[in-house]
Amino acid sequence: MDDLRILERDVTTQSNKITARGVDVFYGEAHAIKSVDVDILDKTVTAFIGPSGCGKSTFLRCLNRMNDTIDICRVTGDIKLDGENIYDPKVDSVQLRAKVGMVFQKPNPFPKSIYDNVAYGPKIHGLTRNKAELDEVVETSLRKAAIWNEVKDRLNAPGTGLSGGQQQRLCIARAIATSPEVLLMDEPCSALDPIATAQVEELIDELRSQFSVVIVTHSMQQAARVSQRTAFFHLGSLVEYGETGQIFTAPKDPRTESYITGRIG
């Protein structure tokens, strides 16, 4: 833990963007998330850390109802976005996902051109009025995702033809092109080299001025570098949640301490 610049960064208190209360998730009989309460602040980067299989991805997918696509998955409890229950029967999950964007753990670009990958979201949501505006959105999204220089000459090449790390940045560009209010990122940097990682982290920090970002990561350094708040999950429960500096320097729970010092995981 040599990189704790976080302490110097001022954490202004923000209003709650997402509040989760008593959330339980079941895959069939298996109890994957056990009664989790979390407040995710607006204009803040929140990191989810924890050993593999502890339910970070599962909980993240609850926040934009991507779990709806899994037949055996059942979510109970209360998750509110800006005070509105996102599991309310009246809520259209499509509208929700336009507000809560997601970058998946495995890069999954569409087998279409790079341009079409990024332009797809704005197109279906009618965010742009003409081709010039769309071009503009595509370019800024690709620039923000730190991939513009690599692909600007081959926007019509298939997105699936990029390297794994480039694909992941393309997926990030695709997610921010729809300007969501919350961006969920599931290990966005696991396939990236240190330079691209640094660029993505810079992007995350930039995004913080407009969005609230939730990032799952296995890298303590990354969590410490980019996030203001950190949640530590273990075996489906939220063990500890607080300001990143506090979690990494003075964890309250012994499990948190042993995880960040590398003893469980």
């Binding site: 934009n64 991507m66 696509t69 037949d71 499509v94 509208q95 996902r97 336009a98 964007g101 997601m102 998946f104 495995k106 999954n108 670009p109 569409f110 087998p111 797809y120 979201g121 279906i124 949501h125 298939p158 699936t160 033809g161 997926c171 695709r174 997610a175 092109a177 729809t178």
Partner: protein
């Protein structure tokens, strides 16, 4: 792992193997032998398949290619007004009353004149023998020509007519001088005359386009029989199948695969569809007979009925292959689309369906090819009938595709049932046509596949 367990594991681990890499041990030898045995079995299996295919193709080509060649006789025929238009008015209605019975002798006379003027003399050749060289179809051909152009009456016209089936068979090795001795339909003298005419250039054997365009012909005139009606009937049925089975099948599969909840009912439907695919095709024929002809009152032998029956038969094939194609699209693509806020339908139509398209197309074309070659259900709904008239795509009384027709495989079956060996040749020819259509469909499938295929 703690240090204690690591130590325990190390003590039980097997000792490292020793021995030269250049010498195979017994186990490796055994494994390699098993592998080469298996490769040999595979090669043998492929060889058997290839040999069977080669035998099949050569026998069909050997028997059938001659159907695409036919013997014709060129004649000059007088068309006396006294016989064809007694009134002299060239009134079509009156002229139509003159039947082919009047035209036949004109042709016979024309040929006899040619034989006389060329000075061909053959022992034992009667007048009846000479006229027997000409196909019975020729009189109808001449009559049609005169009715199409009444001004021809009173003139002498040149006409090329079909030679009779036995004479044609002489040039294809079916009839020989020896077999003609025993055959009441053809005499050796006729064969000699045919040779003489051939020498003079009056009798020629050339490509027979009529085989693909002419309708079927009766038992006595195999030389005139063609596949025209059968090809058209099959084409109409394929249109019906494509227009109905593709959208219904694809829509059903998309619903079942992407939208339907997974419960007992959808399981039941799934099992039923798989079972339907295995139902013998003749059962669909009985179903078609009961529903479309007896209950709905559609006309027997109509391409629409055949098409509907074949649609029922093809649907399970299309549904199964479409579902397999949809299943093979990685779920991450659906997640990606849903993740940027696409609706389920947008995800399916913008991303999943294009990726599944090659598989769907292949399934559809396999289904169509199956339907094209299907015979049994068509027999039951009367498509085996003898049809001389071309069916219309639309008729005022029978609606779309409602006029009686026949189909390629049924025509094959029909011709193999007939006595004259000339029909056997035509049946083989029809099989070649059927195979060519199947090859074309497969080629289209491959081309479309190539075009739509994308990596992901």
């Amino acid at each position: 792992m703690t240090d204690a367990t690591a130590a325990a594991a190390a003590s039980t681990a097997p000792a490292p193997r020793k021995g030269s890499l250049l010498v195979q041990d017994a186990r490796t030898r055994k494994r390699n032998a098993a592998e080469s045995r298996f490769k040999a079995y595979g090669l043998a299996a492929i060889a058997v398949g290839v040999i069977a295919l080669v035998i099949l193709v050569t026998s069909i080509l050997g028997n059938g290619t001659s159907a695409f060649r036919q013997s014709y006789i060129a004649l000059n025929v007088e068309l006396p007004e006294a016989k064809l238009d007694k009134s002299g008015t060239r009134d079509l209605e009156v002229m139509k009353k003159v039947t082919t019975l009047t035209y036949g002798p004109l042709l016979a006379k024309g040929l006899q004149d040619a034989v006389d003027s060329l000075g061909i003399e053959i022992e034992g050749l009667t007048k009846k023998d000479v006229s027997g060289l000409i196909s019975q179809e020729a009189a109808a051909q001449l009559r049609d020509r005169v009715l199409a152009d009444p001004a021809l009456v009173g003139q002498t016209v040149q006409i090329t007519v079909l030679a009779s089936g036995r004479i044609d068979g002489y040039y294809k090795g079916r009839t020989t001088l020896a077999s003609a001795e025993l055959d009441s339909n053809v005499s050796p003298a006729q064969l000699k005359l045919a040779d003489a005419l051939k020498q003079k250039g009056l009798l020629t054997t050339r490509f027979n386009a009529a085989f693909l365009t002419a309708p079927d012909a009766s038992d006595q005139r195999p030389e005139a029989a063609g596949l025209g009606v059968a090809i058209l009937g099959s084409a109409y049925m394929m249109i019906v199948v494509l227009v109905l089975a593709l959208p219904i099948g694809v829509a059903a599969s998309i619903y079942l695969e992407e939208f339907a909840p997974k419960n007992r009912w959808t399981d039941l439907i799934e099992v039923n569809i798989s079972n339907l695919a295995a139902v013998p095709s003749i059962v669909f024929g009985i179903l078609g007979l009961a529903i479309f002809i007896n209950f709905a009152g559609l006309r027997a032998s109509a391409p629409i009925v055949g098409g509907l029956v074949l649609t029922l038969m093809t649907l399970p094939t299309i549904i199964i292959s479409t579902r397999a194609a949809l299943k093979s699209v990685p779920p991450s693509i659906r997640d990606a689309a849903l993740g940027v806020g696409a609706s389920k339908m947008q995800a399916v139509f913008h991303h999943v369906l294009p990726l599944a398209a090659p598989g769907i197309l292949t399934g559809t074309i396999i289904g169509l090819a199956q339907a094209l070659g299907e015979t049994a259900p068509l027999l039951l709904i009367g498509m085996v009938a003898f049809v001389r008239e071309y069916p219309a795509a639309y008729s005022a009384t029978d609606g779309l595709f409602g006029e009686p027709s026949t189909a390629l495989p049924v025509q094959v079956y029909n011709w193999t049932q007939r006595a004259d060996p000339a029909f056997f040749e035509r049946a083989s020819g029809a099989i070649i046509v059927l195979l060519v259509f199947l090859l074309i469909m497969n080629a289209v499938a491959i081309i479309l596949r190539r075009r739509f295929e994308r990596r992901w």
